[in-house]
Symmetry: C2
Subunit: 492 residues, 2 copies
């Protein structure tokens, strides 16, 4: 269902003449956050209803690669021979979150990462204890474990000891979200959670300051759901709502590939704002241009229109996308030599058109209309770095410092607007405590209202530091806490 | 008065037992926006009260340089021999506002810029028709007119025809905010506006959905002010509220020099959020490192720790500050030769320590611990640009392309945290219509509530595109509209 977004405002409970049904915990949105909330609320003894706008539950999590960011020595890490340490994971995530970090959430997320791993396996999720060692957006085989961020790239590798922390539920290839959500949904249903699909939440219902339910449209009729414990908003981000993107995160509008499902229209965020919550981190989001696979593209150089490199080309694809969007508008090229061109088994994932080719680097420089000598200088310096196995200016790992000295050369176009994929999703949402409680501008809780996943601002805080697995890790973990908080509020 | 920020939540009018007084338009904050609102509300026939938290009105506007961004052929521009065009001003401001631009506000601001100039002169403000042609943060003499942004720097000069548009009320030196506010306050008082100082607004009072007044603390007592037309929030930004900066604009926390007055604690924004408004552009702000004056520093090169230039050194100081904070954390240097050093009449404004000196550029390169050859290459290329009067990579104007070839050399340290000034103020606030009406997440007006100045998100939208004069221009112009709207709501 791709309904128009609701024009939500809160409803006074005194105006509700007939409650359709009552429950302990009412969850808006049946994706990774909502179903995790439902499971832990049900485990705490609460009666739980989930309202899902689409005709099937799963949300954007089901459409995702399914990677979950966990560490500190998970059984999968250990089986693959990796040591990891919760403190290293904490240091990594803290600096990866940038200035907007929610330190309390990062701390709790790391302290409980092994418990969360156990919880996921208890829901039936299997992580095949196999490590995939190459640069990729996801493991192309059934392997669970890979490095999914900038852990081993400069400067992150100077802040914390790298470890692979992306864990994919077992499936061949990219679609780890499917086994993840299948298992979570099966577990939730087995615990008696009632998941109502084609049910679009419209308004939060309040009794004075207290949130007591939600109005939802089902079969073209508005029905009123009462929640004795609380309402948990988990209906996803707002990347599909162009007006909200323009208002809150206009930088993301430059992307051409919104990541998510058609119901990521920010309705839950707007319902929470109407109920007294405030939005934080609203301008931030994921901005990625997938320049790998193929992994050989990591051995390229990436230059701007001055012919200069500006980044270590072994960064996570999100950091490259973010860097290009943060820099002045201009032309960007990925340059390889024949050795890398010939081993291409398929066109690059990023959808980059060929911008030019040259029998020599001089010819390519001319064809790309770069300042005379600029590309030649850059390449000469780079090949010297490769020879020295040291990149003093941009700190690319020696592992990927291969000379580009086998003409002919080719350049792919990474310029925004020329066809390259710049994928985006939102990282902003309601301000919440780690318990999921929605708070006002005055840091007071809105009684009865909780949020998790991308209806809240959680672990993922900036494009530059993002790693695959942070979103689903955050959604499932803090979803659980929000569900539990709502259940306990009723039962206490 | 530097009170702790209030813990505002809205008050139900039914709870108000005694109204201290009634008025048509109640304005919270007596700075540039508030007093402009008061003048136009009074001119429309409304009874106006202004509540000012400090012991004197004036706000941050009174502390500022006083520049006002106006163009399209103002009498001052014409007297100084400058042609300007409203369309050129519009194009400039539109791209200077970046992706977050409020197009409607930019359009209206430009269309009425000549009318606003007239209005200011009618309040008694004098602009001495003299042009100051050098790079500076303000005119050091009594001259009114100067270029205050990136109008003549690349790439802005490719988008619109440059013109000087900063207008300073007449005074010798930097303190144009003083004659500006003196005149506005004199005008407001002459029109019968009642300005109550030492009055801290605490809460918005609502009757149902409608804003009907404000509770304020005066002489340690809470008093209730009723507003028949509307409440106008104009109490400034939140740069002095470290918690709000951390929540909403954490990047600004890296600055070391908050621009504003101690009452810039965001109280008005929080009162508006409590009353149903939403914050937009909350992460953005001014980030400036004043590398000029002296004007000769524009003839420097500015390099990062790779020894490379990254910007045209003739940009506005705000764009340099923003660029450094947007780039990876690292070291930044401003490099001059003996010719520029010797003409220094005073230490650089930016508070930059000397990072190194060298009899040769090689020696300086070593002293700064830059990669071998990097600075030499950069300087060789730059001096070639100077010889050619063309900078193909960074597009610095030939006007400032002077070779740096007279050793000894010196480097000033522009690194964040090493003493360089990085001044900050906030650009985020309540979402408003150009009329000043505060709107909700659902784009519905909050009846009776208006905002302007830095309680709203207005013309200034991003550090990179900011020009001096945009803030006061925005505050005074949209302040007027907000005051008029509130007055008309009552009188209609």
């Amino acid at each position: 269902m791709n309904d128009a977004p609701s024009q939500a405002t809160t409803i006074d409970s005194a105006e509700v003449k007939h409650w359709h049904t009552e429950t302990d915990v009412l969850i808006v949105g049946g994706g990774g956050a909502g179903i995790s909330a439902a499971i832990d609320a049900a485990d705490a003894g609460a009666k739980v209803i989930v309202l899902e706008a689409a005709s099937e539950a799963g949300g954007s999590t089901a459409l995702a690669g399914g990677l979950i960011y966990m560490g500190g020595g998970t059984p999968t890490q250990k089986a693959c021979g990796f040591d990891d340490d919760i403190e290293e994971m904490y240091q990594y995530l803290l600096q990866a979150s940038g200035p907007n970090a929610d330190i309390e959430k990062v701390r709790l997320y790391c302290d409980r990462t092994l418990e969360h791993y156990d919880w996921l396996t208890r829901q039936g999720i299997v992580f095949k204890p196999e490590y995939y060692p190459e640069k990729h957006t996801n493991t192309p085989n059934e392997a669970a474990l890979m490095i999914t961020g900038n852990e081993d790239a400069w400067p992150d590798n100077t802040h914390a000891k790298p470890a692979p922390r992306g864990h994919k539920p077992q499936i061949k290839g990219d679609h780890g979200g499917i086994p993840l959500m299948k298992n979570l949904l099966r577990s939730a249903r087995a615990k008696g959670v009632d998941i109502i699909c084609d049910a679009r939440a419209l308004n939060v219902i309040k009794d004075g300051e207290m949130v007591v339910g939600v109005a939802a449209r089902i079969d073209m009729q508005v029905r009123y759901f009462k929640a004795r414990g609380g309402v948990v908003l988990t209906s996803g981000g707002f990347i599909m709502n162009r007006e909200m993107v323009a208002d809150y995160a206009p930088r993301l509008a430059r992307g051409n590939y919104p990541n998510g499902n058609p119901n990521d229209t920010g309705d839950g965020i707007r319902m929470g704002l109407d109920a007294g919550g405030v939005g934080v981190n609203m301008d931030e989001g994921f901005i990625c241009t997938p320049f790998y696979p193929p992994k050989q593209f990591v051995e390229s150089i990436i230059v701007d229109e001055t012919g200069n490199r500006f980044i270590n080309e072994d960064v996570y694809h999100g950091r490259l996308g973010s860097a290009i969007l943060d820099r002045p508008e201009g032309r960007y090229y990925l340059i390889i030599d024949s050795r890398h061109f010939e081993i291409l088994s398929r066109p690059p994932m990023g959808g980059y058109p060929v911008a030019g080719t040259g029998e020599s680097i001089e010819e390519l420089e001319q064809e790309l209309n770069l300042p005379q000598g600029a590309l030649i200088n850059t390449l000469t310096a780079y090949n010297q770095c490769a020879k020295n196995a040291k990149d003093p200016t941009h700190h690319k790992s020696p592992k990927y410092l291969t000379p580009l000295d086998q003409p002919p050369y080719a350049a792919f176009d990474l310029t925004v607007g020329n066809g390259a994929i710049f994928a985006t999703m939102t990282f902003g949402g309601l301000d919440t405590l780690p318990t999921g409680e929605v708070i006002t501008a005055e840091k007071q809780c809105v009684p009865g209202l909780y949020a998790a996943g991308r209806n809240s601002a959680g672990l993922p805080r900036c494009a530059e530091g993002y790693a695959s697995g942070m979103s689903i890790g955050d959604a499932t973990f803090f979803g659980r806490l929000a569900g539990l908080s709502a259940a306990q509020r009723h039962l206490d």
